[in-house]
Every structure is written in C-alpha cells, then in structure tokens.
C-alpha cells in the first residue's frame, strides 16, 4: 500500500522474482527433482528390502548355522529339510484353515459394520472411531490381554468367570489343543484388531457410490434393503472387496504376533509358517540357511496365491472389474 501514487492508482510492488522466470541450476531440472524425492526411498528399498531378499536367497543354498556369512555350499539341502519338516508343512495347513475362516469372516464383519455405521444419522463419527480404535492397538499387547486376562485358565479369568455362571468348569483355553479352544482366542483377537480398518475402507467405498444409482433403482421398483444391497451396493463395492480380500489374505499368510504370543513357541500345533521360520532361523535353531529356504518357499507360495486370487477376482482390470 505504500506504493500508492498521487494519481490514486495502486500499483503492485514489483515481485522479487517472477514466477514465470525459468529456474536455473539443479532445482529447475525435473530429473534432479525426481531423484531428490524418490532417491531416498529407493535407497531404503534396496538396502532394507532387496538386499535382504537377495541375501536370504543366497543363504538358502548354504550351511548357515550361527552365521549369516557362511562358506559351505549345500545346494538344495535346506529346501529338502524344510519341505520334509512336518512342523513347516503342518503350518501351511494351519494357515489354510486360518485364512479360509478369517478372510471371509473379516470381510463380512467389516462390510456389515460399514453398512451399519454408514446408515447412522447421529454419532456416526463416534461409532466409526469406536470400531477403528483397535487398529491402533499393538497385536502383541492385544494378544497378551486376551491370553492373560480374558482367556486365562484360572477361576478369575473373564471367560472362565462367564462360563462358570453356567456351571462349566474352568477351561484351559490355550494350553490344551483338544478341544481346540485356542482358535476362539486367536480368531476373536484378530477380528477385533483388524475389522475396524477394513470397515473404514468400505465406508469410503460406500460413500463413493452415486446416489443417482439408488434413485434410479427405486424408480425401477427395486425394494430397499436386501434387493438394493444385492444388485446395487455389492457390485459397486467389487473393486474394494477385491483389494480387501487380497490384503486380508496376505495378512493371514503373515500372521505371527498373536499366534506367537497366545500359543507360545513350545507348541507344535497352531503354528503359522512365520512362527516355524522364526524358530528355525532366529530362535533356538539359529539355522539361517534352512530358515531362508523356508522364507523363499513361503514367498513363492504367497505370490502364487495372490496371482491366482487376482485372476479369479479380476483385480487390476480397472473399469471392467466393476
């Protein structure tokens, strides 16, 4: 304003540097800017992901006990050892059972929660937070609360107190594999921990469905409720559902924390593949060669299942998939 002239015409102060002026030097170089922003991440990716993967593949062909820099090449012996290890093959079966249950159940539960929360007229944010908050909880902390407080085997455990009201004696929920009550403990903790996150994804997808579709359906005579859900909502959620199922499947394959902390590392049942690999490589065995071979086998399996699932559900087909 100090530049106002006696003629009453305000003239803008000249800018120090014109925005249109081409930048000189490296900052004006798009290639430099690309590497400036992506370089650190790429370096991190190489150091913390690709090098360990490559090293793991290399270790899998060596006798590597108590060392990660072995010298004795043994070919495919580590792979043979892992594939004939009943604990490892059994853990793959455990994963299948676990994934077969947890993937559809979490999908249905999180979709159900999303539909309920999305319909709320009052306190929607409150309920969204209530269901989402468990996502912020550590798997280890939740597993220990489930094991030591809710599902412990003594008379003052929460679950045993409740079943005691019905005259049932104290149940050892985790130590005794038959009957397999430990599944109840593991499945409930995982459902509690992850349903809220997927609920948020479904809410976002539900809010993206155009209202015109429902209006058009109503004009065409579609009944609200199941019919609208079946023929409008569910098909519109297909892309999100596919992504959710893919994420759930990978998360099921990677299950470790709650299994390890609830079942413990002394049991031979209810082990996930990662638990067996942990015990083989980092645990008492300290056999990094065999552990790496198991990791390679597991990685190949995850890739195969993911590709298969993507092919079946049409992941990545864009608009065609809707």
């Amino acid at each position: 304003m100090s530049t106002t002239t006696t003629r009453g015409v305000a003239r803008p102060a000249p800018a120090k540097a014109s925005p249109a002026r081409p930048r000189r030097g490296l900052r004006g170089n798009p290639t430099f800017n690309f590497w400036l922003f992506t370089g650190p991440f790429l370096i991190g990716l190489v150091i913390f992901v690709f090098v360990p993967i490559g090293w793991s593949i290399w270790l899998s062909f060596f006798e590597a006990r108590f060392t990660v820099t072995p010298s004795h090449f043994i070919g495919f012996d580590n792979y043979k050892q892992m594939l004939t290890n009943s604990d490892f093959t059994g853990s793959l079966l455990t994963f299948t059972v676990f994934a077969a249950f947890i993937v559809p159940t979490t999908w249905a539960l999180s979709l159900g929660l999303a539909l309920l929360v999305n319909r709320l007229r009052f306190m929607r944010a409150f309920f969204r937070s209530v269901f989402f908050i468990p996502t912020a909880c550590s798997y280890v902390a939740a597993a220990l609360i489930w094991k030591m407080s809710i599902f412990n085997g003594v008379r003052f455990g929460l679950a045993n107190t409740i079943v005691g009201w019905f005259g049932v004696e104290n149940i050892a929920w985790v130590s005794n594999p038959s009957p397999p009550w430990y599944w109840l403990v593991i499945l409930t903790v995982r459902l509690w921990l992850q349903s809220g996150f997927y609920m948020i994804l479904f809410i976002a997808a539900l809010q993206n469905i155009p209202a015109e579709l429902y209006e058009a359906a109503a004009i065409d005579g579609a009944k609200p409720g199941w019919q609208t859900f079946r023929f409008i909502t569910l098909p519109q959620l297909r892309a999100t559902s596919t992504a959710v199922i893919l994420l759930l499947l990978i998360a099921a394959y990677q299950a470790f924390d709650e299994f390890f902390n609830i079942i413990g590392n002394k049991a031979t049942w209810g082990q996930t593949p990662l638990m067996v690999l942990y015990k083989t490589a980092i645990g008492s065995g300290q056999d990094y060669g065999a552990g790496s071979a198991g990791a390679v086998i597991l990685t190949v399996l995850i890739c195969m299942v993911t590709l298969l699932q993507g092919k079946i559900m049409g992941f990545g087909r864009g608009e065609e998939s809707k």
């Binding site: 003594v154 005794n176 008492s284 300290q286």
Partner: protein, 420 residues
C-alpha cells in the same frame, strides 16, 4: 511460512547438519545405549542380562558394574521372554554385548562365539563345584564362569496335603494320585508350568536315563521315558493339573495365590513363597519314574560368557574375573540377597548363612543329593526337540514313541553337525 522458507537456504541447511553431526558424540553420552553409567574410564563394555523376576536384581547388577573401575560397563536388561533369541541375534552383529549370561552350550564354542576363560578360572578352579566346571568344559578348556546354580523341584502346601491325607509323593504314580486328591473346586492339585517344558529333563533323569551318553549319543529314548510320557498324558487330561495360569512355572504366584497345592518351581522363588505362606511350605524332588527310576533335581543356573568376537575381549575377561571370581561379597549377595540360589563357589556356599537352616537347607540338600547339571553338548535346538516331545504326546495326545522318534531325527541331525 514463506519467511521460514526464505531463511532456510542450502547453506543454512548444511550448517545445521554440520552442527547436528558435531552434537552427535554429546548426544551419545545421554542416550540409553547400554554403555553409560559406569564409573570407570577409558574402555566401554556392555553386558546382557535376562530379566530376573526377583525385585532388586537389576539394581544389584548395575551396582556391581558401576563399582568396577577398569571400564565403563553398561547393562542391557532384556525383559523379553526370548532372551536367547535376542542374544543370538545380537551376537551376529557389531552391537553384540562384550559379556553376557547364558548356559553352557557347545555350538557357541564351535562357532567361536565364546572366549576361552581357562586362564582366569584355573587358579580358583578347585573352589568351584566340580560339576559346574565339567559342564563348562570342552576339549580341556573352560568357556564360562558359573554365577549361580538354580535347583528346580516341587514346592507343596503342607496344610493342604495334611487335610487331604496325602503323603509326599515318591513316585510319578503317587504324584498323579496326590494331584487328584488335592484338587477342589477352587484349587488344582498340581502346577507344572503352562506348557510343561520345565519338567522334560527331570522326567528323563527320574526315569533312570540321560539326555546323551558319554559318547554324545541319544540316551533319553528308553521304555521308561516313553512310559513316563504316557503317565504325564494321563495327568494332563485328568483335570487335576493347573493350566493357562497367568504366570508360568518360574513365578511363585500360582502357589502363593492358592491356585494349586503343589508347584514345580526353582529355589529362586523360595523367599517369595516363604513370605506369602510362612512355614506352610515343603519341598521334594521330581519323583521316581518307573521301577528303576530315581528322584532328580535339575540344577539350572546362569553363567557369564565373554563374546570372543567382541572388540574388547581382554577387557571383558578382566571384568568377568573381577566380578565373578574376585568379588566374593558381590557373588554371595547375588546368590542369596534376592531369590535363593546355590553359590557355585564352595567357599561361598559353605559360608552362606541363609542357606544353612530351614527350608533353604532342605533345598540345598536336594541339590546335593539329586542334582543333575547342564551338559555342554545338549544344545538349544535339542531342548526345542524335547519341547516338541511334550507338545506332541503329552499335550496333543500322540504316541510317545512317535514323538521320541521325531525328536531322535532332529537331535541326530544336530549331533551329526556337531560331532560328525
């Protein structure tokens, strides 16, 4: 915002980065890097300890370290349940501790992870429990200094056994019968730990067998051991065993909270049990298994090792010698002031007044009469194989023979790798 941007040009950023780099060494002084806190000057050493359950042990360990003038000794107190996992992983890195506590295991010797401590132990070798020296010796060299011996046996509530008219069990059958008679709607007869792994070695010894024989061959796979495993399965399914307790066998809370009448535990927990239960407490060894069996007590414990691949091996050995060989007062304090442990030095054990009378003396007698020590050839992987035996046939209900066969396969592979 724009003002900030204009002030932070490239030179300013570089100047700030250089300043931060200069402050780095200062920051290291205040960080929890496991090396600070000592009163010594010059060299720095780090030591790993697992978290002892008894109050005061951590403070005691740090007090001993700060009293050492030869180096700054930092202590990492590992609270995780998997102390060995963290230790093994650390030993592969440049951040490995210079000194650490663990159990004697041959694979650590063969992989060059632990230093030969013969030169510091030999002058006082005769003052150590000979079994402790044997358990740390491989190929004529001694690889660790025993800090404490931890006998493990059964503790029982005298009043509960009297009320149920049950005598102190001397056989596994009697133990199973006692558990049945002692079980009520509120109290279980027996607690062997949540996964039963604590009693796997005593079961072998009590059945008259050994984990390995003198030629380092499998010696645990006998008919008596298989029969004992079958009896344990019967006990496991009887409903008289406390399972899924909030704390495991090493913690005295199961018996002190009245959850069980008999608990397998270590002598370390005796002071806490006496404080809670007074004189209503007795001890007995793991009873005989089968007709040719014998009572047994597992003499566990912890030993101090020096990382042979560390940067300060000589300084670390000097520290270990100073604390665990020269400082007898600290050794007695460590063994008897917190939980009760048997000092491995015979001169200290003989003068430890707290272990001379009452229940501690009974515990010390069980240690002497029935004790079995660690075998340096029995590795962590072999312990895991035994864990699997208990899981497969006692907890899961499989055939003992099949479970032992599976363990044989793993342990033979391990033995082949170790001894060819």
């Amino acid at each position: 915002m724009s003002a900030m941007s204009s002030n932070w040009d490239r030179r300013s950023v570089l100047r700030a980065a250089a300043g931060l780099a200069a402050l780095g060494p200062l920051a290291a002084c205040g960080g929890n890097n496991g090396r600070g806190g000592g009163s010594g000057s010059g060299k720095s050493l780090s030591q790993y300890f697992h978290a002892y359950g008894e109050p005061g042990v951590e403070q005691a360990v740090k007090k001993y370290a700060s009293a050492y003038k030869g180096a700054n000794v930092g202590t990492q107190w590992i609270t995780s349940n998997d102390y060995e996992t963290k230790l093994f992983a650390a030993l592969l890195t440049s951040n490995a501790p210079d000194v650490f506590e663990f159990h004697p295991q041959i694979q650590m010797v063969k992989s060059g992870q632990v230093a030969d401590l013969s030169d510091i132990i030999n002058p006082v070798k005769d003052d150590f429990n000979p079994a402790d020296i044997t358990s740390h010796t491989y190929d004529g060299k001694i690889y660790g200094v025993r800090m404490i011996d931890d006998p493990q046996f059964f503790f029982y509530r005298k009043s509960m056994l009297e009320k149920a008219k049950v005598g102190v069990p001397t056989t596994l059958e009697e133990l199973i019968e006692a558990a049945a008679k002692l079980t009520t709607s509120k109290v279980k007869g027996l607690f062997l730990g949540n996964d039963l792994h604590a009693i796997e070695a005593p079961l072998i010894w009590s059945a008259g067998a050994e984990p390995l024989n003198a030629k380092n061959e499998i010696a645990y796979h006998t008919d008596a051991v298989a029969a004992g495993l079958g009896q344990l399965r019967k006990l496991f399914t009887s409903g008289h065993l406390l399972l899924d307790a909030p704390a495991d066998y090493w913690d005295p809370s199961a018996i002190t909270q009245g959850l069980c009448a008999i608990q397998f535990c270590g002598m370390w927990a005796m002071p806490a049990m006496q404080k809670a239960l007074g004189d209503d407490l007795g001890v007995f060894p793991f009873p005989k298994v089968g007709s040719n069996g014998r009572p047994s007590v597992y003499n566990g414990g912890w030993s101090m090792f020096v990382n042979a691949k560390g940067k300060n091996v000589d300084a670390a050995k000097e520290y270990v010698k100073w604390l665990w060989i020269d400082q007898k007062k600290y050794q007695e304090d460590f063994a008897t002031s917190y939980g009760f442990h048997i000092p491995p030095r015979t001169s200290i054990a003989a003068s430890a007044d707290k272990l001379k009378s009452g229940l501690p003396a009974e515990g010390a007698k069980l240690f002497t009469d029935y004790g079995h020590f660690d075998n340096i050839s029995w590795t962590q992987a072999m312990w895991s194989a035994l864990d699997a035996v208990i899981s497969d046939c006692v907890r899961k209900g499989g055939s003992p023979e099949a479970a032992l066969d599976k363990a044989d396969k793993t342990i033979n592979r391990e033995l082949k790798k170790l001894f060819g």
